[in-house]
């Protein structure tokens, strides 16, 4: 990296917030994908003005800029695959306002999701999106990836709670989208464009969040099923009966095999699927909701139902769910975690298809996740040291994604595309649609400096006038 650029960066954010030391390059080279790409320089920004000036400088010198929060993404969104400046936003972590009259919070992007949730809950309010990483992921990252979580069945995803943004554009301008009014049709809905854009169109520096009143109470239950069909049909049946639980989590037989014995709640020997169902709302309505759900699923082969009577018992049930990810290593050393999503009524079809593919390829597939919104975490468990396995997994992945698209689903529900899924983008989007997206990228980021190499691969045909495709 040009020495002069480093000097200028230091002038913008202060010398203590700029580093070209190998140590810092290493500690900012990875995310939860475990891939590693060294940046040229690491910069910690403290204000919107600093972000803007850093981006202007980078744009002038055609240097890639990688906005980074907690670095907990699963698809490589923060990886500096083409080097450049890793721009860390964790120091922009102020909750600027919690407006209890209008149910709005204004925050900086480095605020940790769970911290905001704790603060608003103290005031009787509620911010629903609850990605599994909420205790450490940042709201800026949540916006960039449009994070989801178990509660999205009832409450929707991050997108549904973003009212407006302050964004630094790829050329360093500072713009504002949306606003505090509940209705707003002035101009294009840029807020929606930025949510889920994976840091490729702009860097979010302020976020206006919509809040809800905090539900008065909740009730959790764990239901054990004889067959996987029973559980899958239950998901469809509950939704079909027009009941929307807060969460509706699903664990398949392979998952149960991983946690059996270690879980605080005993699981029946012939249990081959589990649903964890939670309902929330006014305390008086909860028992009624639980009974309605039980009535719908009772004919579907239930072995045992446990309804938590206390917060501790509820916690014990959620502990079963939380054990899953760490326990998967027992199956095989390498894991491909794909967050596919299908329409809720197609969950049974998807589960069948996955069973068939697992048998056909001779590769273990462990499925669990947010079945209530059709978002199934498909984990291909394998050992990549086995000869030919990498190619096999690649073909299997492609087939899973094609199945998802046939069922009118999406290849990613909440993790994003990044680098991990870029090569599969075409399985869901046709070339015209991809081209339209790339033209937006090229128009807004003519020098392709913001998070280059993400979402779109270089292998696809480049549409005319698409500067975003001409890589350095």
């Amino acid at each position: 990296m040009d020495e002069q650029v480093v000097v200028e960066l230091k002038g913008i954010v202060g010398a203590e917030n700029v580093s070209t030391a190998l140590t810092d390059k290493i500690t900012h080279s990875y995310d939860a994908t475990q891939e590693r790409h060294l940046p040229d320089v690491v910069v910690y920004a403290g204000t919107t003005a600093e972000v803007s000036r850093v981006v202007m400088l980078a744009n002038r010198h055609r240097i890639p800029v990688l906005p980074r929060g907690a670095g907990s993404g699963f698809t490589g969104g923060t990886l500096p695959v083409k080097g450049g400046i890793v721009l860390v936003l964790t120091h922009m972590d102020r909750i600027l306002e919690i407006d209890t009259d209008n149910l709005i919070a204004e925050v900086e992007p480095g605020v940790v999701t769970a911290e905001l949730q704790r603060q608003v809950e103290r005031r009787g309010l509620f911010y629903p999106p609850d990605p599994a990483s909420r205790e450490f992921c940042t709201l800026g990252g949540n916006v960039a990836e449009c994070a989801g979580g178990p509660r999205c069945v009832k409450y929707g995803v991050t997108r549904d709670y973003i009212m407006g943004l302050e964004v630094v554009t790829p050329e360093g301008d500072i713009i504002r989208t949306g606003g505090r009014a509940l209705k707003n049709v002035v101009g294009y809905d840029l807020t929606r464009l930025f949510v889920g854009s994976e840091g490729t169109l702009g860097i979010v520096t302020k976020i206006l969040l919509r809040l809800l009143p905090r539900p008065e109470a909740k009730k959790t239950m764990l239901v054990q099923f004889e067959t996987i069909e029973g559980a899958a049909q239950s998901v469809a049946a509950i939704i079909g009966a027009k009941i929307i639980p807060t969460t509706l989590e699903f664990l398949d037989a392979a998952t149960i095999g991983c946690i059996r014995g270690g879980s605080g709640i005993p699981l029946e020997a012939d249990c081959s699927a589990v649903l964890i169902i939670e309902v929330d709302g006014d305390a008086v309505t909860l028992d009624g909701q639980v009974e309605k759900i039980l009535a719908v699923i009772r004919p579907l082969g239930i072995l045992q139902t446990r309804i938590a009577a206390t917060p501790q018992e509820s916690e014990a049930i959620w502990q079963v769910r939380r054990m899953v990810s760490p326990s998967l290593r027992k199956v095989a050393p390498d894991k491909f975690n794909e967050d596919v999503v299908v329409p809720r009524s197609r969950v049974p079809d998807m589960i069948h298809a996955l069973e068939r593919l697992s048998a056909e390829y001779g590769v273990a597939i462990v499925n669990f996740g947010h079945a209530g919104d059709g978002n199934i975490h498909v984990n291909i468990m394998t050992d990549l040291r086995v000869d030919g396995m990498a190619g096999k997994v690649e073909r299997l992945l492609e087939e899973i994604f094609r199945t998802v698209v046939e069922l009118k689903g999406s290849i990613s529900g909440e993790h994003g595309i990044g680098t991990s899924k870029a090569r599969f983008l075409h399985t869901e989007l046709d070339l015209q649609t991809i081209s339209y997206m790339r033209r937006i990228k090229a128009a807004l980021d003519p020098n392709n400096i913001l998070n280059p190499g993400k979402i779109f691969t270089d292998r696809l045909p480049v549409p005319a006038g698409d500067a975003g495709g001409s890589e350095p």
Partner: protein
Amino acid sequence: MNGNKSLKDFERQIRECVKCGVCQAHCPTYKERRREGAVARGKIALAAALLDGGIGLEEQLQQDISMCLMCGSCVRSCPNRVPTHEIVGAIRRQISEHEGPSLIARGVSAMTGSRTLMKALSRGGAFLSPLLFKKIPETSGLRLRFPIPAMKDRTLPRIALRSLFDRVPEFVQGREEMPTIGFFAGCSITYAYPEIGEAMVRILNHRGYSVFLPRRQQCCGIPALSSGDGRLVEALAQTNAEAFAKRDVQSIVTACASCNGGVGEYYRTMHTDLQEFTDKVVDFSVFLQQDGLLAELEGMEKWPERLKVTYHDPCHLKIQGITREPRAFLQALPNVDFVEMENADACCGLGGTFSVSHYACSKAIGARKIPGLAESGAGMVATACPGCIMQLQDSINRAGLKMRAVHILDLLASALP
């Protein structure tokens, strides 16, 4: 022979870090700094790069490795239980061996400039007495924690402060049929809080045990471990094991969580076989529960006037899973009304020599305990580690709270006849 593990010994565990980032939610230094170099994941990435030869012991790496309390909070929450505190210890030893006095060691000497810390930690200036300081062995962790070489040869008013060894004989006879219990007191209790040690001996003796408090026992080694002085840790481990081998002791009780983490938990990880010693090491709360004292307390009638007390988890107990026993005692004590507080298990910020090398950060981490302490409504915070007591009281005074940090044994001693 090198008794301490080297970085290479941790290779398998280092490779098990999946970079998920969970440690960010639990690391006290990360929460304060919000920089990747401060958190376990960053340090494990550096450890992997060191093993691969991808990086040397450059200055920024030493800085990052120094930014760790070795509290183990990350280990408890890590899906693969990567022992970052031990790995940081191994890198610090590597730094000391290859680079001479490390940044941390230099930080230790910089500590003399921090008068506030000295004042807060010195209990009314007692530590400032060179005469007193001379009583503390050269190898003691207190010297690493509070080095005051500048005052070595100066004359100061004589302060009469009797250490635990001046107050309790080496062997206290109990009932004939009862076994002898070794008491590993540690530097803080021996020299700074001898009353806690006296309470320990009195309670053990009251239960019928003979108590052996060997004079040859030395520092547990935690501060040396924290500052990367591997050779000192080895020497201390040998001396301590030998000191307690002089008598046939059934158990070796500690009343300082850090010491327990040293002579118990850490010595067990060493290549040197100290199993005969380490198998006997037990925290006082676990010992007294097994002994039956807890059950007796539970049977006692509650006093009409009780103190409202909350509990702070010392890291060195928490990481070993000892969280229930200390609370059980506080709940059972007839003179105490126990209340939980928020963030009870968050580190106090002392962290071996961390508070010396990174005083500002240590203070800020300490301050994070304050809202929980204040909202608990307790008049006292009890804990099971004199190090935590020093740091908690410092944070409390700084925040202007009216609250006292005490040892559970202080409360226990006042409840017993």
